[in-house]
């Protein structure tokens, strides 16, 4: 059989390693064969291909270099950088869901590249220490490219496949059949963004009616952090050709330059052109979630599920929404579906266990937790023990709850929730002093700006009972800023504040 034909078939089967081997052998015999050359380029590109429309981490350096911020204090709902405290989506009275550590936004139902969202401001980023169990890279892009750079080195032990510096770009740009694979190779495999941009520019000059080159030029601009140029290119590309990628790229750029409303509009426009494309809906749902508009977010996730019933992200997010919306039995169904689809992670099992507990299917609970024990790492173990502690506390086993919280601390030394749980037990035993000191550790562990409302309120109550009205007032005020709009909880906090004010005035 013709080895080129075999290589092509293997390429279709996505066996890129074997394609690489065959084409390398063939190219040694005939280095001028452009077909082989193209195939090898594509195989190498596919090995490291990343969907560019997924959001990346945006970390300290990106924030520091951010030139696109329009206003230092944007109006609520117009910026992703502003943590939304009294958002549209916060339901009064309903279970207040736990907030993520750094931002005050709800913890996502699914871990995805951008879900460890940005720090609220630079000062916090510089002053709060990082979590002890994780070591995030400084800039996500550098981290990813470095890794992939080394990967490419390994695949070609005899030096790089194409020496880009010696390449006559102008010549290859004119050969249309070769230009696109070559561009992708440069862009994705070698990460030579400047060179890729040069090539895209040249190709665009040759034929300015080709949307593909426009959108690739946009990608290059984006990677070089020239977001406004990228936006212009993408817009033009999208107007020339309504391709899903163009809409997704455009939305991503808007999200990056902190224009969430524009991003949603762009996703919606994409949705009109491609009504059966769940990526648009999921994208819009993510932006809504970051804006803390959970009602809309869930709506979009549910729509996405109608199109694609196997979308992990939508399943996980809708499941979480159901859980906090007092329908744990429905959440259980979503999580079980994830398990059926082969997503086996400790978190899912923990969630299934919690759903079983809350929806009173307690006979199924422990098997889920047992599986979670088998799968979990150290940080997940901390959360697992925290949840077990919660279950013990709910079923009245305070001693076991205490042990669970302590075990949670063993795995994650600064687990503010576990510390708060211990404080709660100390409080119920009547040891106010201990409760206060544990709560204060909890507040330190989560950072004063990011402490949960409950912790602050409890701290204020304990301080009040110990007669320390000054600190109590301080903590109650902090709790009050977080609690506004939470219905009954809000009222409790306000009453406490008024009581403390009266006490302080009477002194």
């Amino acid at each position: 059989m013709d080895p080129l034909y075999v290589a092509l078939k293997l390429f279709e089967l996505r066996k890129y390693d074997q394609v690489d081997k065959i084409t390398t052998a063939l190219l040694e015999r005939n280095p001028q064969d452009e077909a082989l050359w193209t195939l090898k380029m594509r195989a190498l590109t596919q090995q490291v291909y990343v969907d560019e429309y997924e959001m990346e981490y945006e970390d300290v350096v990106d924030q520091l270099m951010d030139e696109s911020a329009m206003a230092a204090r944007p109006r609520p709902g117009t910026s992703l950088r502003q943590p939304v405290k009294t958002g549209v989506g916060v339901r009064p009275g309903a279970t207040a869901r736990p907030m993520s550590r750094r931002t005050g936004r709800p913890v996502s139902g699914m871990l995805r590249p951008s879900s460890r969202a940005t720090t609220a401001n630079m000062r916090n980023a510089m002053t709060t220490g990082r979590g002890l169990q994780t070591s995030q890279p400084l800039t996500a892009k550098i981290g990813r490219m470095l890794r992939q750079g080394t990967a490419s080195m390994l695949t070609t032990p005899n030096g790089p496949f194409i020496v880009l510096s010696r390449l006559n770009l102008a010549k290859y740009t004119e050969k249309k059949y070769l230009a696109k694979p070559l561009f992708e190779y440069i862009f994705y495999h070698d990460h030579e963004t400047a060179l890729a941009l040069q090539m895209a520019n040249a190709a665009h000059n040759l034929d300015n009616r080709d949307w593909w080159w426009l959108s690739r030029r946009g990608l290059c601009h984006y990677r070089l952090a020239l977001q406004r140029e990228a936006e212009r290119d993408m817009k033009e590309a999208a107007s020339q050709q309504a391709h899903p990628d163009n809409h997704l790229y455009l939305s991503k750029i808007y999200a990056r330059i902190d224009l969430p409303a524009q991003a949603i509009e762009s996703y919606k426009a994409g949705g009109v052109n491609f009504p059966a494309e769940p990526a648009m809906l999921v994208g819009a749902a993510r932006i809504f979630e970051e804006l803390d508009d959970l009602a809309n977010s869930t709506l979009f996730y549910r729509d996405a599920l109608k199109i694609d019933a196997m979308n992990f992200e939508a399943l996980a997010c809708v499941g979480m929404e159901c859980y906090y919306d007092d329908q744990p039995e429905l959440a259980l169904r979503y999580y079980r579906r994830l398990l059926q689809m082969g997503v086996h992670s400790a978190e899912i099992f923990i969630n299934v266990g919690m759903c079983c507990f809350v929806s009173q299917q307690m006979d199924l609970m422990w098997s889920a937790f047992e599986n979670a024990f088998l799968l979990c790492n150290k940080e997940q173990l901390a959360d697992l023990f925290y949840n077990l502690g919660y279950i013990c506390a709910c079923s009245g086993e305070l001693q076991y709850a205490q042990r669970c919280f302590q075990l949670s601390l063993t795995s994650n030394n600064s687990n503010p929730e576990a510390l708060a749980g211990l404080a709660q037990i100390a409080y119920s035993e009547g040891d106010r002093q201990k409760a206060v000191s544990l709560l204060s550790v909890s507040v330190t562990a989560s950072g004063k700006e990011d402490a949960s409302m409950e912790t602050l309120y409890n701290m204020a109550v304990c301080c009040e009972e110990l007669g320390d009205h000054g600190s109590a007032f301080h903590y109650a005020q902090m709790a009050h800023t977080l609690a506004s709009g939470l219905g009954a909880v809000d009222k409790d906090v306000k009453d406490l504040l008024l009581r403390l004010q009266a006490a302080i005035h009477s002194v």
């Binding site: 009064p92 009275g93 309903a94 279970t95 736990p98 913890v107 002053t127 220490g129 990082r130 002890l132 070591s135 890279p137 400084l138 919306d325 329908q327 039995e329 429905l330 009173q360 299917q361 307690m362 006979d363 609970m365 422990w366 047992e370 959360d383 925290y386 949840n387 077990l388 279950i391 013990c392 086993e397 042990r403 302590q406 601390l409 063993t410 030394n413 600064s414 708060a420 211990l422 404080a423 709660q424 409080y427 119920s428 002093q433 201990k434 000191s437 204060s440 550790v441 330190t444 949960s452 409950e454 309120y457 409890n458 109550v461 219905g487 009954a488 009222k491 009453d495 406490l496 009581r499």
Partner: protein
């Protein structure tokens, strides 16, 4: 997914704030005409009537009441400012009311009569003199009962058989269905029974009943001059419509239970409707032409029934005021306190139709339709109310307080009863719980069907969970790598600042014990010396008081050549112990040496 509940939920509950409406005396809609604090009247709303005693247009308050000092029951009238003793009664009346016995017209004013329901009698007085009496028609005795007594008379059965037979009858019928003779006979001691039978068995059996409630219904016209009939509810579960003057029963209805309160609507000749609340807590509606009985059941027992013409107002024991219109109610008002009594207000001058509701917190609320329009407070709880005319004035509300005070209030002519915008102090929590899903119902079915198996499984699960927790707890006690609090009341919290190659490590040590201080501890920072340059690895901990905190910072620098992650182990050591008390590990992120 981390669920987190605060201590705060159980920590403190603020005192409930009372209603925010503050009735100010300046814009009161009422004038107090009489306030007699020495009246010592003890009565109920049904035993009060405001009526023209002598036909001279001066209205008086007639009360059937119990005198607490002498214990006698009498009918008294407040005429102008003074009380007149009128009649002694044999027992406490079920109702006292004014009734027009004959039709009047605009030229001639008729003198209304007082109807007093006592036992099975209705005594009618006119211009303060006894006029006539009406006795409820005797009821036929039960067949079984009659047979038994006849058998005794014919000496077919003995006394013991009679007792046995009558006891069976008493068990199978309600108490009120038996004749007085049988009831009295069964209560007698055994030795007196023979005497009783000998004395009474020759006489015929009578069964009478007792009036439980009474009201009036107009005969022909809707206005106040029309002649009226009495509507009487009895213990024998019947309602009679009676013309007292001619001693005739005009109509008779059966109700499913004993009527307790009664209200009417319409005229007897055209169409009338009788609303009655019975001992079973339901309200039955009886219409003239439709013999069947329609029932409505509020959540709790009705205090009384009021018919305003537009609504049927039912104040209930649970403090809810229902406004029924037609068959559907669905207008209700939750009041803060239980209701003591209620009365309809029909003020012709302004066309006001309202309901006054007295509460246990000494307030009287006035509702027009279903809106609160006025509110005033009395010195004591109001136990009875009657609305009508007093002296020569229209719009009088007579109130009897718990301490026996009688107050008569008049509506001010210019008073406007506009709805009070009631500022609710606490918004009722919006119930945002979603509807229970079909899946939830399936789960409940599963629970119901496999309850035993599930219960065993749950306990099995809990036991296994406890075992796992205990095992891991024991392991961690062995390892002693806890962040604190397992064996010691110490929490170590390290924080790492900086992005490399320069870092700063901040270690906070908190003593969470409530009484023991920390003495003689050291902290040792252990890290790869070829990768990081750190001075002062051993830190001596000073005396840390209970609840106290000790924090220190150590800057260090990455000096290695390879990009890789590092680790710090922070160990808490105690003097004289070779094993560290605590140890905490921290990851140091990779830093580029080229920076």
């Amino acid at each position: 997914m981390i669920s987190y509940d605060g201590v705060g939920a159980s920590a403190s509950q603020p005192a409930a704030t009372s209603a925010a409406v503050s009735p100010t005396t300046t814009d009161s809609k009422w004038i107090t005409l009489v306030e007699d604090q020495d009246a010592r009247v003890f009565t109920f709303g049904a035993c009060m009537a405001l009526m023209d005693l002598r036909g001279d247009g001066r209205y008086a308050l007639v009360v059937g009441e119990l005198n607490h000092t002498s214990g006698e029951i009498r009918l008294r009238a407040l005429d102008g400012q003074s009380w007149r003793d009128t009649f002694k009664l044999t027992e406490f009346p079920a109702a006292v009311l004014a009734i027009n016995l004959e039709p009047g017209d605009s030229g001639r004013r008729t003198v209304p009569a007082i109807a007093v329901a006592v036992g099975n009698l209705i005594l009618v007085y006119k211009t303060m003199k006894p006029l006539c009496r009406y006795q409820l028609p005797p009821l036929p005795a039960l067949k079984e009962e009659v047979d038994l007594w006849q058998a005794v008379r014919a000496k077919n059965i003995g006394i013991l058989d009679l007792v046995g037979g009558l006891t069976v009858v008493r068990v199978s019928y309600p108490e009120a269905a038996l004749t007085q003779r049988t009831r009295a006979f069964l209560l007698l001691p055994a030795e007196e029974r023979e005497e009783f039978v000998r004395e009474h068995c020759e006489k015929s059996l009578h069964r009478s009943t007792v009036i439980t409630c009474m009201t009036t219904v107009n005969n022909k016209l809707k206005d106040e001059h029309s002649d009226q009939y009495l509507v009487i509810g009895t213990e024998s579960r019947q309602i009679f419509i009676v013309d007292a003057l001619s001693n005739m029963t005009k109509a008779q209805h059966d109700v499913p239970d004993v009527p307790v309160t009664i209200a009417t609507h319409g005229t007897f000749l055209e169409k009338y409707r009788i609303f009655t609340s019975c001992r079973d807590g339901k309200i039955y509606t009886i219409t003239k032409d439709y013999p069947e009985v329609v029932s409505i059941a509020p959540n709790d027992r009705p205090v009384t029934l009021l018919s305003t013409g537009k609504h049927l107002v039912v104040p209930c024991m649970d403090g809810i005021l229902y406004f029924f219109k037609g068959k559907s109610h669905e207008l209700q008002h939750k009041l803060d306190c239980p209701i003591t009594c209620a009365e309809v207000i029909k003020y012709e001058a302004t066309g006001l139709r309202a309901v006054a509701v007295a509460l246990t917190n000494r307030e009287v609320h006035i509702f027009r339709d279903d809106h609160l329009v006025d509110l005033f407070t009395c010195d004591e709880m109001v136990v009875a109310m009657k609305y009508g005319r007093f002296d020569r004035e229209e719009g009088a509300l007579a109130l009897v307080l718990r301490n026996g005070t009688v107050i008569i209030k008049l509506i001010k002519r210019r008073a406007k009863f506009d709805p009070i915008v009631q500022e609710k102090p606490v918004k009722p929590l919006e119930s945002l719980l979603p509807k229970k899903s079909a899946l939830f119902l399936d789960h409940t079915v599963r629970e119901r069907e496999n309850c035993k198996r599930m219960n065993t499984a749950i306990f099995d699960n809990l036991t296994r969970m406890k075992y796992e927790i205990n095992k891991r707890y024991a392991d961690s006690l062995q390892l002693q790598t806890a962040g604190g609090t397992i064996r010691n009341d110490v929490i170590l919290t390290p924080q790492l600042l900086g992005t490399g190659p320069c870092f700063k490590l901040i270690v906070t040590l908190q003593n969470t014990a409530s009484d023991t201080p920390l003495i003689g501890y050291h902290i040792y920072l252990e890290m790869d010396q070829s990768m990081y340059a750190l001075k002062g690895r051993l830190v001596e901990i000073p005396f840390v008081v209970p609840q106290g905190k000790f924090a220190f910072a150590r800057p260090f620098r990455f000096i290695g050549s390879q990009i890789m992650q590092g680790e710090i182990t922070i160990q808490l050591l105690k003097d004289g112990h070779c094993v560290p008390v605590l140890s905490v590990q921290t990851v140091i992120p990779e830093s580029d040496p080229s920076l």
